[in-house]
Symmetry: C2
Subunit: 268 residues, 2 copies
């Protein structure tokens, strides 16, 4: 390992770059996004991603646990530097920052990278707004054994700090793609996928539907659910019964309840 570089100035350009990765335009311009904490960074590295920048606090100077990360970074031409907890707090924009943060390059999210037939189930979501919901959907897709998550049309940025945090590492272990609805529809129909639209009315009880692989659960966004044309294009429309006064479930909750029903049918 090379000599430690130590950065102690808030105005250092690398520190400012890392801080500015909270901003979508900076992420796009620099081709980088921020990952915080030992666990997420090692998840990313084990999934084959190579950090471009790693900043760690002084307590970690002599710890071996991050050696793999440091070596991968430097072997790929990236930079590792040490800094203060105050600067890590500035970068993370929170009071108790992780002891290490890293910047990675985002990867290609085109739909044709995904092989629909390699998995029996997928999640798709239209126009998702909230990065926390996106992270939770990725984490749920991983747990339920789905192939991954497809973001339809305009959605929030999966490489935002909030989405990365909420995914708890599933961003690195679960496949992710982004596509306009018509591209997605052609892709799904070409594989004779069963498209299961999650809707609130004019639908079958989700437990009365016979699911078959490959199955794509299609979720609407937080505000307005699935547009009518999208609903009608689905193979079946599934409704989760609701007994209270609320008229909808959180989108990540709907996705999980439907996905586990599909998984339960497939495993029995």
């Amino acid at each position: 390992m090379k000599q430690n570089f130590v950065i102690t100035s808030y105005s250092n350009p690398t520190v400012r770059l890392l801080r500015d990765l909270h901003d979508k335009r900076t992420r796009q311009r620099e081709g980088l996004f921020l990952v915080e904490g030992m666990r997420l960074i090692t998840d990313a590295v084990r999934a084959g991603h190579k950090p471009v920048l790693v900043a760690h606090g002084p307590a970690l100077r002599f710890q071996g646990i991050l050696r793999e990360v440091f070596e991968v970074t430097e072997a790929a031409g990236g930079h590792v530097f040490e800094t203060s907890e105050e600067i890590l707090a500035k970068i993370s924009r929170k009071d108790n920052p992780q002891a290490v943060v890293a910047a990675f390059a985002p990867w290609d999210l085109t739909l044709d990278r995904l092989d629909l037939h390699r998995h029996d189930m997928w999640l798709a979501v239209e126009g998702l707004k909230d990065p926390g919901n996106l992270g939770t959907l990725l984490r749920t897709a991983d747990a339920v054994g789905a192939g991954g998550v497809i973001l339809l049309d305009q959605s929030c940025d999966p490489f935002s700090v909030e989405a990365v945090r909420a995914s708890m590492g599933a961003l690195f272990t679960t496949q992710l793609a982004r596509a306009p609805w018509d591209v997605f529809l052609a892709w799904a129909k070409a594989s004779s996928a069963q498209l299961v639209g999650a809707v609130l009315e004019d639908a079958q009880d989700y437990q009365d539907i016979h699911y078959h692989a490959p199955c794509v659960i299609v979720l609407g966004n937080e505000q307005s659910g699935l547009p009518e044309g999208y609903r009608l294009a689905c193979t079946v429309r599934a409704k989760i019964p609701m007994y209270g006064q609320a008229d909808s479930l959180n989108v990540a909750i709907s996705g999980a309840v439907l996905a586990y029903e599909v998984r339960n049918q497939f495993r029995r």
Copy 2:
């Protein structure tokens, strides 16, 4: 309705009070919490709560839709005032504030207010940290037809701005209580409730368990799951199968998947 009061100064004590309701100590000292937006405020009023303060933007001055809220507020001795969008943004601490915000008094959360036998299912969660998860659990409890949510031990504040936002009104339609574990355990055992502990190992597949009413799903917190003593005190331990690389689900997702399994068994 009385004459409109108009407040245009950031330093007005009422404006500062509303702003400071983001802070837990202010909420406790003042005995008030903040509810934003027409929909949540009318949900609260329809559930029988009376606003102590209502602040609305100028566009609402001549709208009838909030009349019920204004009348209830003033009849109960509360105050309604008009203010600017800039001040509403300061109060909400976000750029696009709701056109109306209100302060309500929190209510009694002692466990003995809840009649366990009036509902076939409840959710309980130990040491919950994240107000977004709390709001989502409340919303899920409402949808699945559970009696409500019981917060065990120390948890985040259900009256925080974030929890109120995430509950989407379920805070007002779903019962909520707070209790130490031993008080909860005595309460549940006295009613012969089935305590279903959500755990990751040494547990039955959640679909192999026969659930019976009254059933309480007991969830651990985001970091560490259920403490061992709590797990052992449960009637059964349920595990949701996971197929990916992640070792856990989000707590609100686990709660929803388990709760819908219980509901599905009960309804068939």
